[in-house]
């Protein structure tokens, strides 16, 4: 593992950076309860479409403050939602502030967050949405849902694809024919419509946990077929390799050969493939949420954050910072692609 990291670093600094970026991001979403300044459904009713809060070091009289601070804001123009800073009082940025109690993953309770400011001022790194909710906090919480959907989804399709592709390729014959026809049936449908029709098979008024599981199921059901076909192709060629014959001559069973020799030799491709396919799951979830079929408000997911922000073009002209959320998600997805591309080379033993 350490060797792999080292190789990745030597191969491409950029991809190495991507890896750390993604790890940090996953970590941040995981601990959103501590890191986010506000709970995802906390509303500042008097601050909808608030631009990103300015963080100051100098007050209005030109004094320097070592601790950064913000001003409270008041509505300037209620129609166009412009805000004006109220310079009468400064609200210093505080670390490990005490606030409303939240549960970290339903178990541990915490009432301290990494940073925040006293009410009624607010700190909105990416601004607020139409309900006056902090978009940055929602992105962190939403990442928890979107990233876990993609990870679980990828894991399920990867396992399904690996098992079916591996068995089909290795044993061949009638097993191969049956499995591949099944895969082809799945693959002839355009995946977007397949996703919609699968979703349409279930009622709209599901609980949020049911919707979550349903989305995971739908996305992995769509994703595994392509992977299975590719894995089958790879297994077909790997099983003819001399080292497979040698493994057989040692008296290893079919399962051991499949598990310990054939599958690992597909990894340089399949790990790359799944890394690159992660964005597909995130976008799939976003597409469902955008159409109102995915994660429902007030729960945040990247899909419904996008739909409530940049989904509305009219608002975008007046509140361009809403684009930040889109750019943020875009950057995460780009990093998956960069990492996947580099892994292709790093995992190939011929490059070691």
């Amino acid at each position: 593992m350490r060797k792999l990291l080292h190789r990745l670093k030597n191969h491409s600094r950029l991809a190495y950076f991507s890896l750390w970026f993604l790890l940090v991001f996953y970590f941040a979403s995981f601990f959103a309860d501590i890191l986010a300044p506000y709970h995802f459904d906390h509303q500042f009713r008097n601050k909808p479409y608030h631009p990103p809060t300015k963080i100051h070091f100098f007050d209005s009289r030109g004094h320097f403050h070592i601790r950064p601070f913000v001003y409270n804001t008041v509505v300037d123009d209620p129609v166009f939602k412009t805000y004006r800073e109220d310079h009468s009082k400064i609200y210093p940025l505080k670390f490990f502030v005490r606030g409303k109690e939240r549960k970290i993953f339903f178990f541990f309770k915490t009432d301290r967050y990494l940073f925040g400011v006293d009410q009624p001022a607010g700190i909105f790194l990416f601004g607020t949405d139409n309900y006056g909710r902090d978009i940055f906090s929602r992105l962190l919480y939403g990442g928890r849902i979107s990233l876990s959907i993609s990870l679980i989804g990828v894991f399920i399709s990867f396992s399904l694809g690996m098992i079916t592709g591996g068995i089909a390729g290795y044993f061949g014959g009638i097993i191969d024919q049956t499995l591949m026809r099944l895969v082809e049936i799945l693959m002839v449908f355009p995946s977007f419509y397949l996703m919609l029709s699968l979703r349409a098979m279930f009622p709209l008024n599901l609980s949020s946990i049911q919707v979550y599981l349903l989305i995971v199921l739908i996305l992995s059901l769509i994703g595994w077929a392509g992977l299975a076909r590719i894995i089958r192709g790879m297994v077909l060629s790997i099983k003819e390799e001399d080292y497979i014959l040698a493994a057989k001559s040692l008296g290893l069973s079919h399962w051991k050969i499949l598990l310990f020799h054939i599958f690992p030799n597909t990894f340089s491709y399949s790990i790359t493939a799944i890394t690159i396919s992660v964005p597909g799951y995130i976008i799939g979830e976003a597409a469902l949420s955008l159409l109102g079929l995915g994660i429902q408000e007030p729960y945040p997911s990247w899909g419904n954050i996008l739909s409530s922000t940049i989904g509305n073009l009219r608002v975008l002209g007046d509140a361009p910072w809403l684009l930040l959320a889109g750019i943020f998600i875009f950057v995460v997805l780009i990093n998956f692609n960069l990492l996947g591309d580099a892994l292709r080379n790093v995992l190939d033993p011929k490059n070691w």
């Binding site: 001399d242 014959l245 040698a246 057989k248 001559s249 040692l250 008296g251 020799h261 011929k350």
Partner: protein, 323 residues
Amino acid sequence: MCLTPKTGRMERMLEIKNLSVLRIERKKSVPILNDINFAVKEGEMFCLVGESGSGKTSLALSIIRLLPKSFKIAYGEILINGKNILGINERSMRNIRGKEISIIFQDPAAYLDPLFTIGTHLQESFHGKMANKKELISLALQEVGLDSEIQTVYPHQLSGGQQQRVMIAMALINKPSIIIADEPTTALDVLTTRQIISLLNAIRLKHSPAMLFITHDLELAMEIGTRIGIMYRGNIVEIFRPGVQKPYHPYSKILLGTIERKNSKLVVGVEKNKFYNEQISQVCVFFDMCDEKEENCKKIIPFIWHNNETGVRCIKSGRNTQV
């Protein structure tokens, strides 16, 4: 069959009787091996010599029952320590592979899984008691002249010679009674070839397995073999003892002639297309190429044994075969 009192093993460890192998090719069947008969005893180095395409590898793979799918064993018996392995199921066969019989292949780089360290390879080949594992692995490495530290290394980090030593260690680790080496030195340079050969010979003398050494190099076979089988187009045309007898078959003589005269131009060449399209021919296999053919040769020639150990597939056999 008699038991040797010293080891309690059957004396004839590997015995092949009337083995015929076909390749099924779109409803047509092409003969690959035809009526192979020989036995290899404990401590013997039986060298199988033939040009490429003569069926040596197919014979080796028949013995461990790992022929490609299109190949069919049409007839015959293969006895390993007295047991006919063609009658047993795949699971019992797996217990024989690697334990009672192990095989060393031609190109070690291709036969080691690139993703796994040498240590993993050795552990995978080990079938014995887990308690002895570490000890026996380093013992096997020591025996083939490798350092124990090599276990952490990946195959591509080794030289061809080292890789082949690893293969030999893997073959050796379960103390099999039969070792097949299929052109183990063809991918190696001259000096490394020497080292590997003497290593194999040392192993034979120490553990006395039945060794089937496959090579296209008759000169090498003459040097190390206790007996030599000459293969031509899927047939064993002659079995003789180097140093004791001169080979008799016209094909063996041509092969030997190319060594003695250091003449690289081989007189015979297998006309591959012809071989493929032909059904089992109704004349002697060597008929087309033979300088000494007669009218009598236009029939299927049986393998004629001089004694239990040597013989020739030629009608003029038996005359003048002593040195």
